[in-house]
């Protein structure tokens, strides 16, 4: 400011001096002083304006020019509305899609967990001999807790569904059993009441429970007097001691937390029942914690009496966030990569549009340049226009992302963790802004470099004749189109591979029927007492009989684990005869060392009706029937794959096995039948060998009833609810159709296919439009040349060949690069494919044909137009 004032004072002096000198000169030429002064003033011009202009020099001119640039850019964009609309919409689509996908990636993978210093919270796993991670057995957890020096606090937890009553209505609620210190690990304190103390966790202590904020509001009427409230959870009466803060639901969906091990710990080192979290001590790194836990785990491995495949071999510590999002990571990053490709294709289209637009404006620019516009100013003009386009596109895209995100969340597979934390929030908006800016900078730099490279100046020299017209620009245009084709090919190949994987998955015979089955989840309290267990068996038997009476229900079955709904427990069974049975499970250790005696299978509790409802075929022998009462010899039905694996070239029927380590009942099971395999863990996972036992002989507390019904789910559900209410008003049920369960299991595959397919198709349309644009533009620029050729006798077919040939060259270069890139990139997604290799020739061939076909069509239309050129008109043109 000071400088400006000084300069302005100097200017005044200068002007005075100037006019004085001029006046003196005029007097010297013989004018009268008055006349001389007047002439000098006239010659000088408007003093006010000169001062004004000079003042501008010292003010923030760039700001003013920026305003002019924007004004001018707006005028340009308004003038060519079609161009603007196409460019803005293309950018909006790409930026919107990228923003929407990024919001999911951010919410699931990047956003820190909502706990204090959440990066200090770790998950601890056992590593078994196969290298897979599993949950932690009680004595192993105790050793981790007592021997490790890496954690401030460490706790175990296990969530399960329980029937809860005592509040305003009975519910099926997810309940977590947690060890003391659980809340300390997560850094959470009750907003009302207290945390668990040491006394709450003691064996035989009065049962206490913590409730979630949501449960407290909904079912406990936000009562501040907790002492009055008791909840009946799986039959036990619990006093509510605290309410946890709103939003805290860890592990996912939990509403109630109770102390673990109220009935004492499970002494087995191979019963992997608990997840473990710990908060690192200040200054301890993840690596140090890993060394620490690993050393303890190996010590356990070396000293334990329970050797075998189920004993841990090592231990591992990973950040809790990674543990939660682990499986989703690769799939989400894949989607982010795919949408990034779409963004590139879209930007390429806009770059081509800008290039065409620039050559239309070449004369305007040449003239501006000739009239003294500095190169910098022109470059800035281009950047301003690119920014305007990208910001318009970006804003529109963000609006679209709000809408698109709703669709994404609705479409997202149920097993996608942390979906509730996905939203368009500040970091996502910042991302969108940065992305738009980057797009603008890229496009601006590209077009400014092209347009002021001097090539356009030649435009002025070549005048309006526009025949050869910007060979360079056209070459750049073709390079862009080839790149577009290459990227599109990668995307569409990806979509094709995932699509074909989904089709292959759907071709797999699941091994059971899916339609017309209503499922009903019911859980009773877990009990150990054999009498109480028998009572539960009778309860279920009664329930099944009554459900059969519902109009429209044809058959009813029950199982401890519905296929594709979370899986079954697995373990080692023993081939044994009656007189070999040990008195307790402790005697199993030595027997488990004898390789010829052991087998490995999933353990499923079921009824005869289960096989009938799901139409799991009987291969040989029989399924459960009236002979198999609670006191008759216990029987088992095994799956075909188990028969094949464990009894090759033998008939398993009649053999007896010991599988009491699964449910504590040591009575032997006689194999009476073999049934077909089921894809218990999803169509894309191989069937697991399975042992089925009879629900009436081996009761199980948590059961899914299956009803084959012609009536719709709602009417069956309401009738079934009434029946259950009658039998036991404290038990709640959850109803679904089996189709829902089944289709959920395909959710993440479908999610990938739909999204990548959508990106692929969009990219294909954009690339086709890109090819069309460049070819049409090229033909229009060559109208005169083509006219000359026709005048000289070229046949239309020759012209067609010439134009198509030019297009084909571009297409083939793009396709070749695309195939090479696909071969390199699809390898990385091999693990997500099913039934096709990453280099599937059918997919590659089909996609190449599709792309070449679409691109050729896009070339053909302008090429046809070229053959219609009338030489007379073309030559007179301009």
């Amino acid at each position: 400011m000071k400088k400006r004032e000084r300069m302005m004072k100097d200017l005044e002096e200068d002007i005075r001096e100037h006019i004085e000198t001029e006046t003196q000169d005029n007097i010297a030429r013989g004018m009268s002083p008055e006349e001389a002064h007047y002439a000098a003033m006239r010659k000088f011009g408007n003093v006010m304006r000169v001062e004004e202009d000079t003042r501008d020099v010292w003010s923030f001119v760039w700001l003013e020019q920026f305003g002019q640039d924007i004004h001018y850019a707006f005028r340009m964009l308004r003038k060519s509305r079609g161009f603007t609309a196409v460019a803005v919409l293309t950018l909006a689509l790409a930026i919107g899609a990228t923003t929407a996908i990024f919001s999911v990636v951010y919410g699931v993978l990047l956003q820190p967990l909502p706990y204090t210093d959440s990066n200090r919270i770790m998950s601890v796993f056992e590593v078994n001999s196969g290298g897979t991670w599993s949950r932690v057995a009680d004595p192993n957890f105790d050793d981790f807790r007592d021997q490790s020096r890496s954690f401030q606090s460490i706790a175990k937890y296990h969530a399960d569904i329980a029937s809860v009553s005592g509040a305003s209505e009975p519910t099926r609620t997810t309940v977590a059993a947690v060890s003391p210190g659980f809340l300390k690990v997560l850094g959470v304190q009750p907003i009302l009441g207290r945390d668990f103390g040491a006394g709450d966790a003691k064996k035989g202590a009065g049962p206490t429970v913590l409730v979630s904020y949501g449960y407290w509001r909904q079912y406990l009427g936000s009562s501040r007097d907790l002492a009055q409230s008791h909840l009946k959870i799986d039959g036990g009466l619990f006093s509510i001691v605290g309410v946890l803060p709103s939003g805290f639901r860890f592990p996912a969906d939990v509403d109630l937390w109770l102390p673990a091990d109220l009935d004492g710990e499970n002494p087995s080192r191979t019963s992997h029942n608990y997840s473990v979290v710990g908060r690192l001590r200040d200054g301890t790194t993840v690596q140090q914690a890993n060394l620490d836990i690993s050393a303890i785990a190996r010590r356990i491995h070396d000293t334990s009496s329970e050797q075998g495949d189920y004993l841990l071999k090592d231990g591992i510590v990973v950040p809790l966030q990674d543990a939660i999002t682990g499986k989703a990571r690769s799939s989400l990053l894949l989607l982010l990569g795919a949408v990034g490709f779409l963004l590139l294709v879209a930007c390429a289209n806009v770059a081509n549009l800008l290039l065409a637009q620039a050559s239309v404006r070449e004369r305007e620019l040449a003239i501006r340049s000739a009239l003294g516009a500095a190169r910098g100013r022109l470059v800035r003009q281009y950047f301003t226009e690119a920014f305007l386009l990208a910001l318009l596109g970006g804003s529109l895209g963000v609006l679209g992302a709000f809408w698109g995100l709703a669709g994404l969340v609705a479409l997202a597979p149920e097993n996608l963790p942390r979906l509730e934390s996905v939203s368009i929030n500040i970091p996502v908006l910042v991302f969108a802004l940065v992305l738009s800016t980057a797009v603008a900078a890229g496009l601006g730099a590209f077009i400014a470099a092209r347009a002021t490279s001097g090539e356009l100046r030649k435009g002025l020299v070549e005048g309006g004749r526009g025949q050869a017209g910007l060979q360079g620009s056209q070459r750049v245009g073709r390079v862009i189109v080839a790149a577009q084709i290459a990227i599109t090919l990668v995307l569409v190949v990806g979509a094709g591979l995932f699509g074909r994987s989904l089709m292959k998955v759907l071709e797999v015979n699941p091994g059971f029927r899916v339609d017309k089955i209503v499922t009903m989840d019911v859980s009773l309290p877990w009990v150990d007492d054999p009498k109480a267990k028998a009572g539960q068996a009778i309860f279920f038997s009664n329930l099944i009989d009554r459900l059969k009476q519902i109009p429209g229900v044809r058959k009813v079955g029950a199982t401890s684990g519905l296929p594709m709904d979370g899986g079954l427990p697995d373990g080692m069974f023993l081939l044994m005869t009656q007189n070999e049975i040990p008195k307790t499970t402790d005697g199993f250790g030595p027997l488990l060392q004898q390789k010829e005696r052991i087998g490995n299978a999933d353990f499923c509790v079921a009824t005869d009706g289960y096989f009938q409802v799901l139409e799991i075929p009987l291969i040989r022998g029989r399924i459960f029937d009236g002979r198999d009462g609670a006191n008759s010899p216990h029987v088992a039905v095994i799956s075909e794959s188990l028969a094949r694996e464990r009894w090759p070239n033998q008939d398993p029927i009649g053999h007896t096995i010991e599988f009491g380590n699964m449910d504590g009942d040591l009575r032997l099971l006689t194999i009476v039948g073999i049934v077909g395999d089921t894809h218990e863990y999803g169509l894309d996972a191989p069937p697991r060998p399975t042992v089925y036992v009879d629900l009436l002989q081996r009761p199980h507390a948590a059961i899914t009833l299956t009803m084959l019904s012609d009536a719709d789910m709602r009417s069956v559900a309401s009738a079934a609810r009434g029946i259950l209410q009658n039998l036991n008003p404290e038990v709640a049920a959850k109803f679904q159709t089996f189709s829902q369960v089944y289709s959920t299991s395909l959710g993440s595959r479908r999610f990938n296919v739909i999204l990548i397919g959508f990106f692929g198709i969009t990219a294909l349309l954009l690339a086709t439009a890109g090819v069309f644009g460049v070819m049409a533009y090229s033909v229009s620029r060559r109208t005169r040349e083509i006219g000359v050729r026709v005048a000289l006798g070229a046949a239309p077919s020759g012209i067609l060949r010439m134009i198509l040939g030019q297009g084909l060259r571009t297409i083939f270069i793009g396709v070749a690069i695309g195939i090479a890139a696909s071969l390199a990139l699809t390898r990385t997604v091999q693990s997500l494919l099913f039934g096709v290799t990453a280099t599937d020739p059918v997919t590659f061939g089909g996609v190449t044909l599709l792309l070449v076909g679409a691109a050729l069509l896009a070339c053909y239309i302008p090429a046809r137009r070229a053959t219609k050129v009338d030489p007379m008109v073309a030559l007179r043109h301009e």
Binding site: E17, T21, E22, G45, V50, S369, A370, V461, G463
Partner: protein, 119 residues
């Protein structure tokens, strides 16, 4: 052939004034009035520079550090501001001159294509 009197005086293209000022300063520091005179004289009075417009241009060049300003005494012994070409200004002059030559040639070729081809 037209005579000098018949020629119209033409207005300067925007941006060219800067170039002319830089050129004028090559021979050494000059004060404002003298710059105006020199441009008029050297262009045979064809270029019509409204003398006042010189000053915003001078200040623009100062701001870009292509010229500097210093106190001095004019030929008739008056105190005056002298403008001096800086090293950066000298480089700018060279670049702008060659740019101008290309531009002028190009415009000439457009405007008189026949003469060009005829040569």
């Amino acid at each position: 052939m037209s005579t000098k009197e018949q020629r119209e005086r033409i207005e300067l293209l925007q941006g060219t004034l800067d170039l002319l000022i830089l050129r004028t300063l090559v021979r050494g520091p000059v004060h404002g009035h003298a710059i105006a005179k020199a441009i008029e004289f050297n262009s045979d009075d064809v270029l019509q520079v409204e003398q006042g417009s010189l000053y915003p241009a001078l200040h623009r060049l100062i701001k870009r550090k292509w010229i500097s300003v210093e106190e001095g005494t004019s030929e008739n012994n008056r105190r005056a501001k002298f403008y001096r070409l800086t090293a950066a200004g000298r480089r700018q002059l060279a670049a702008e001159t060659s740019k101008w030559d290309k531009m002028a040639g190009a415009i000439a070729r457009i405007l008189r294509p026949a003469e060009q081809e005829g040569e």
